[in-house]
């Protein structure tokens, strides 16, 4: 993996994970979506877009998206997408320390296996 690829990957992971955590924070505050009728969904989306955290999340996810486009212009998708699974490490830590989620040992083991898989994808 070249330095150029590594920088793009770091932006995808950090901006993407940061964005997802911001969006999660917004949706958790709104509460569980119990009705899937279009007008109810539009009301939920409207409430979400009145949150500053949602817009910060979208900004970070946009940055991640452009970095993904650049990396996809250089490398195959069957390499790029699995490698971005490194974000699981940051996702699990972010979920635990920023959102107060309880991560069970079994879930940690799953995250570790995902990381091992990513390593093999890189070697392959």
């Amino acid at each position: 993996m070249s330095a150029r690829d590594a920088i793009s990957l770091a932006i995808i992971i950090f901006a993407g994970t940061g964005g997802e955590l911001c969006v999660t924070r917004t949706m958790k505050r709104i509460g569980e979506v119990k009705s899937f009728y279009p007008h109810h969904l539009l009301r939920v989306i409207g409430r979400a877009f009145r949150s500053g955290w949602m817009w910060l999340g979208i900004g970070l996810m946009t940055l991640s998206f452009f970095s993904l486009l650049m990396l996809l212009s250089w490398e195959n998708v069957s390499f790029v997408v699995p490698v971005t699974a490194l974000s699981y490490v940051f996702g699990a830590f972010g979920g635990k320390f920023l959102l107060g989620e309880h991560i069970e040992p079994r879930r940690w083991l799953g995250v570790v296996l995902v990381c091992l898989g990513v390593l093999l994808v890189c070697i392959g």
Binding site: V81, Y88, G110, V111, L113, V114, C122
Partner: protein, 138 residues
């Protein structure tokens, strides 16, 4: 059907939609960027030209549409399920990406990469066996 089964069923359904739309979106983006060509210069004029070609590409817009559908499913599922559950569980999309990359784009996927993807899926199965929510509502 009790509350826990209903919650688990709709969570798995939306994660399935996320896997399909997410993977299809990424494959379409790769198809579009392959047609446009590698970003080779950081000169503003060259970047602007790449930007214009990117957003006048059919596969890129189809990819973005697919990723928007992924995003809607993602937002809905995050309203009740933990982020650290949803994010790893949606990793089944990695297998779909590898298969679609191989079938639709003719990418060469080495054996080691297939093994890596399957191990990712094994991790996903372990993660999927845990409760979707561990924090209090509200």
């Amino acid at each position: 059907m009790n509350f826990r089964h209903r919650l688990h069923g709709k969570t798995l359904f939306l994660i399935g939609l996320m896997a399909v739309f997410g993977a299809l979106g990424d494959v379409l983006l790769r198809k579009g960027m392959k047609q446009i060509g590698a970003v080779a210069s950081w000169h503003p004029a060259a970047l602007l030209s790449t930007f214009e070609r990117t957003f006048s590409s059919g596969p890129i817009w189809l990819g973005i549409t697919s990723l928007l559908l992924f995003f809607v499913a993602y937002l809905l599922v995050l309203s009740w399920a933990d982020y650290s559950y949803v994010q790893p569980a949606s990793a089944t999309g990695y297998l779909v990406v590898a298969v679609l990359g191989y079938l639709l784009l003719g990418e060469v996927v080495p054996r080691m990469r297939w093994v890596g993807v399957l191990i990712i899926c094994l991790g996903v199965l372990l993660v999927g066996g845990t409760p979707p929510r561990t924090t209090e509502e509200g």
